[in-house]
C-alpha cells in the first residue's frame, strides 16, 4: 500500500489520474467497463478504497409531524424536527417537512408520499392510529418512527429509553433519601408515559417502597386530554413527573398551596427541553437525547436505502439526569 496512489493506478491502466478518481468516486465521465476495470486494478494494487465507499448519494427524507404538536411555541416535536433536519444535512440529505392537519379516516394522505418525491420517511411523534396505518400502507419507502411506537406497525422506531429513564429519575430521588414518591402523568393517553410509569414502579419495587395510589396523579383528563391536575391533601416528599410540562403544572399547583420546590417538595422530571424557555423552572430532569435519536433515525433510513434492510425493531436511546436544583436531599 505504501505509495500506491491514484497515479500508479493510472499508469497501470493507461488512463489519466482524473479518470481514475472519477471511476473510484463513481462520478460521470467514465464508461462502465473502464470504471469496473479501474476499480478492480486499484483494489488489486492495494489502494485504500474505503474513503470512496463512504460517499453515499444524497437522499431526500420526508418528515411527517402532526400539526397538533407544532402549534405550541417552543414545542418538543419542533425541536426534534430541527435535530432531524440537521442530522440529515450532516449526511448530505435533504428533508421535506409536511404537517398533518387532518388525521381523520377520510383525510387525504400526505402529499410527500406521492410522485416519488422522497427516498425515506421519518414520522415524528404519534399520529392517530388509523391514519398511521394508511400512511404505512401507502409509503413504499423505508419508514422510521421517531419518539413513538406500536408493535402492530412492524416498523423501525427510535425512542427515548422511557422505562430506564424514568427508573433513573426515580432512583435519583431515592438516592437522595426520598421514600415517599409520587407520580404525575397520564399513562392512559400515551405509551411513552405508560412506559415511564412502569420505570417508576421498577424503582419502587427494587427499593421495597409500596405503591401508593393516592400519589399517582393524572395531570390530564383521560377523555378530553385537558390539563386538570388535582393534588391530594397529604403529599409525598418528592414527585417524578412524566414530562417537563407536567412538572411545570405541578409546580404551579404547589405554589398555589404555598409550597416551594425544592425546599418543601422535590421534583424530578423527564424531557429536558423546557429550559430553553425563559420562564421555565430549573428542573432536575432526565435528558431526552434528541440529537442522538435524530441521528440514529437518519442513519437507519440510509442503511435501509443502501442494503434494503427490513424491520429491525426499536432502538431505545438512553441518556442521563441533568441536575438543575429542583431536588433536595433529605
Amino acid at each position: 500500500m505504501a505509495g500506491k496512489k491514484l497515479k500508479d493506478v493510472a499508469e497501470a491502466t493507461g488512463v489519466s489520474v482524473v479518470t481514475v478518481s472519477n471511476a473510484l468516486g463513481g462520478r460521470r465521465g467514465v464508461g462502465e467497463a473502464t470504471a469496473a476495470e479501474i476499480r478492480e486494478k486499484a483494489e488489486a494494487m492495494g489502494v485504500d478504497l474505503t474513503r470512496y465507499e463512504k460517499k453515499e448519494r444524497s437522499a431526500t427524507i420526508g418528515v411527517l409531524v402532526s400539526r397538533t404538536y407544532i402549534s405550541v411555541g417552543v414545542s418538543f416535536y419542533w425541536a426534534l424536527y430541527e435535530k432531524t433536519a440537521y442530522a440529515a444535512s450532516r449526511r448530505h440529505c435533504f428533508t421535506m417537512l409536511e404537517m398533518i392537519e387532518d388525521e381523520s379516516d377520510d383525510a387525504p394522505l400526505p402529499q410527500i408520499l406521492g410522485a416519488e418525491k422522497i427516498d425515506g420517511l421519518i414520522v415524528v411523534g404519534a399520529i392517530r392510529e388509523r391514519y398511521m396505518r394508511r400512511v404505512l400502507g401507502a409509503a413504499n419507502v423505508p419508514v422510521v418512527l421517531l419518539d413513538f411506537y406500536r408493535p402492530e406497525y412492524a416498523c423501525d422506531g427510535v425512542l427515548s429509553n422511557n422505562y430506564i429513564g424514568a427508573y433513573r429519575a426515580a432512583q435519583y430521588l431515592v438516592d437522595r433519601g426520598h421514600r415517599e414518591l409520587g407520580f404525575i402523568g397520564t399513562a392512559e393517553t400515551s405509551r411513552n408515559v405508560a412506559e415511564r410509569f412502569m420505570g417508576f414502579r421498577k424503582c419502587l419495587l427494587e427499593n421495597g417502597i409500596p405503591l401508593r395510589r393516592e400519589f399517582i396523579i393524572r395531570e390530564r383528563d383521560i377523555r378530553t386530554e385537558e390539563i386538570c391536575l388535582v393534588l391530594p391533601e397529604t403529599l409525598p416528599t418528592a414527585f417524578f413527573c412524566s414530562s417537563d410540562y407536567a412538572a411545570e403544572y405541578l409546580i404551579l399547583r404547589l405554589k398555589e398551596r404555598g409550597l416551594l420546590v425544592p425546599e418543601d417538595i422535590s421534583v424530578a422530571s423527564y424531557d429536558d427541553y423546557l429550559y430553553r424557555r425563559q420562564d421555565a423552572n430549573p428542573l432536575t430532569t432526565y435528558h431526552v437525547d434528541m440529537e442522538k435519536m435524530a441521528k440514529i433515525a437518519v442513519k437507519l433510513i440510509l442503511k435501509k436505502l443502501r442494503s434494503g434492510g427490513s424491520f429491525r425493531g426499536v432502538r431505545y436511546v438512553d441518556s442521563a439526569m441533568v441536575e438543575r436544583g429542583s431536588v433536595r436531599a433529605l
Binding site: P151, A187, A194, G208, D318, A320
Partner: protein
C-alpha cells in the same frame, strides 16, 4: 520506556531489507504486509529493543472478562457467547474472577421474594471486593494501555464495578445483561420489560383473555422487568390497570390451576381476570422456562391438556435464536428467546467503537428477544 539509544524504524527496515513504511505497517498491524514479513519485523524489533505495542490496531486486542468466583450459572452462558462473538474478529478474551463480597445493594421487594438465594456470600458488606494484588491468587490488573475493553459478564455489585473502572481508567467497560444506573458505563441488556410482551401479544392474538403471569417463588432480579412488562402490555390491551399489583407467584398459580384447595395463599386479584377468580386461566405466561416446566408438570398431574386446555409460554437465554430447548419431558416450549449471541456481539461492538472513536458511553442499551413458537400454545378452549 525506550532504551537509551533509540532504535528507529529505519534500523529495522535496513536489517530486514525492506522499506520503513512496510516496517511501520507491519508493527502497527496494518494491512499491506505479508504475515511472514510482519512476524519477522516484530521479532526483529523486539530483539533490537524497539518498543512493540502489545495492542496493535488490527492485531488481536485483549478484552478483560470479569466474573465472580463461583460464577452464577448464567455467567457460563455469557462466556460461551462472548467466546463465539470474539472468535476471528481480532479480539482475545482474558478472564479474571472477582471475589464476592459486594454490598449486595439489590433489594428484592418483599412482594416478589420468598427466601433469598441472592448470591451474596460475604454479607459483611465490606464493599470493595477486589482483593489487593497478591501473588498467591494471581490477581493483578494488567496495565490499562494493554486492554481494549472490559466486559462484566454477570451482574456485579456497584462497588465492584466502580473499583474495576477506577483500576483501569479510560478503558471502555460494558456490562453484559444487567445494569447499574449508578455507574456510568455501557450496558448491553436483554429487554425483559418489552420482551415479555412478545409472548403476551402472541397469546392475545390466539384469542386468550385470561392470561396469567407466573413468576418463580424465588424470583431473580430480571423478574421485576418481566413482571412490569406484563402489567404494561396487559394495560395496553385494556386487560388491567397500569397501577395494578398482582400475585404472580408459581404457588399461587398452581393453586388456581388446581381449583379447590386454596391453602394459605392470600388471594389477590390477578391481571386479566379480576373478579373471575374461580375460572381457570387459559394461558400461563411464565417469566422463565423453569417455571414453565413446573406449570407443565402440574398440568399433567391434574390431567389438564396443554395446549388444548392451557397454553404455556417461557422465557430463556439461548446462544442462537430459534434453538429449541425442550423441557425435561421433551416438550417443545413456546418461549421468548433472549439472543445471547446478539448480546455478546453488541458488547464486543461497543468496545470496538468506543476504542476507535473515543466517544462517551451510550448508557443502557436494551435488546429485545424473539419468539420461538413451540407446541405449548394454541387458541383457548371453546374458541
Amino acid at each position: 520506556m525506550r532504551p537509551k539509544k533509540q532504535v528507529k524504524l529505519a534500523d529495522i527496515a535496513e536489517k530486514l531489507g525492506t522499506s520503513i513504511v512496510s516496517v511501520s505497517n507491519a508493527l502497527a498491524g496494518r494491512k499491506g504486509v505479508s504475515e511472514e514479513l510482519r512476524a519477522r519485523a516484530v521479532r526483529c524489533a523486539k530483539e533490537m529493543g524497539y518498543p512493540v505495542k502489545e495492542r496493535a490496531p488490527g492485531a488481536a486486542a485483549r478484552i478483560l472478562v470479569l466474573t465472580y468466583e463461583n460464577e452464577a450459572e448464567e455467567a457460563a452462558v455469557s462466556l460461551a457467547a462472548l467466546r463465539a462473538a470474539t472468535a476471528g474478529v481480532g479480539f482475545e478474551l482474558e478472564r479474571r474472577t472477582l471475589r464476592r463480597g459486594g454490598s449486595g445493594n439489590f433489594a428484592i421487594p418483599e412482594a416478589m421474594t420468598v427466601g433469598g438465594s441472592e448470591s451474596t456470600a460475604g454479607e459483611s458488606g465490606d464493599g470493595f471486593a477486589i482483593p489487593e494484588a497478591r501473588a498467591d491468587d494471581g490477581f493483578t490488573f494488567p496495565a490499562a494501555e494493554s486492554i481494549a475493553g472490559i466486559i462484566f459478564s454477570e451482574r456485579m455489585a456497584e462497588a465492584d464495578l466502580r473499583a474495576v473502572c477506577e483500576a483501569l481508567p479510560g478503558v471502555p467497560a460494558v456490562g453484559y445483561n444487567f445494569f447499574d444506573c449508578h455507574v456510568p458505563i455501557d450496558y448491553i441488556c436483554d429487554d425483559g420489560f418489552h420482551g415479555i410482551g412478545i409472548a403476551y401479544r402472541e397469546l392475545y392474538r390466539l384469542g386468550h383473555r385470561d392470561i396469567c403471569l407466573v413468576t418463580p417463588d424465588v424470583p431473580e432480579a430480571d423478574a421485576i422487568d418481566r413482571y412490569l412488562g406484563f402489567l404494561f402490555e396487559a394495560s395496553q390491551h385494556g386487560q388491567c390497570g397500569a397501577e395494578e399489583e398482582i400475585d404472580s407467584s408459581l404457588e399461587h398459580f398452581l393453586l388456581r390451576l388446581g381449583g379447590g384447595s386454596h391453602g394459605s395463599v392470600e388471594r389477590r386479584p390477578t391481571a386479566g381476570n379480576s373478579g373471575s377468580e374461580e375460572r381457570r386461566p387459559t394461558a400461563a405466561l411464565c417469566t422463565d422456562d423453569k417455571t414453565a416446566a413446573a406449570v407443565l408438570r402440574e398440568a399433567r398431574k391434574l390431567g389438564i391438556r396443554v395446549p388444548d386446555e392451557l397454553s404455556v409460554t417461557g422465557y430463556r437465554r439461548a446462544a442462537r435464536k430459534g434453538s429449541t430447548n425442550a423441557g425435561d419431558d421433551g416438550v417443545d416450549l413456546t418461549s421468548v428467546i433472549c439472543d445471547e449471541r446478539l448480546l455478546a456481539e453488541k458488547c464486543v461492538d461497543t468496545i470496538r467503537k468506543r476504542a476507535a472513536k473515543g466517544n462517551e458511553p451510550d448508557g443502557i442499551r436494551l435488546l429485545i428477544g424473539t419468539l420461538h413458537g413451540g407446541a405449548t400454545t394454541a387458541p383457548p378452549p371453546g374458541s
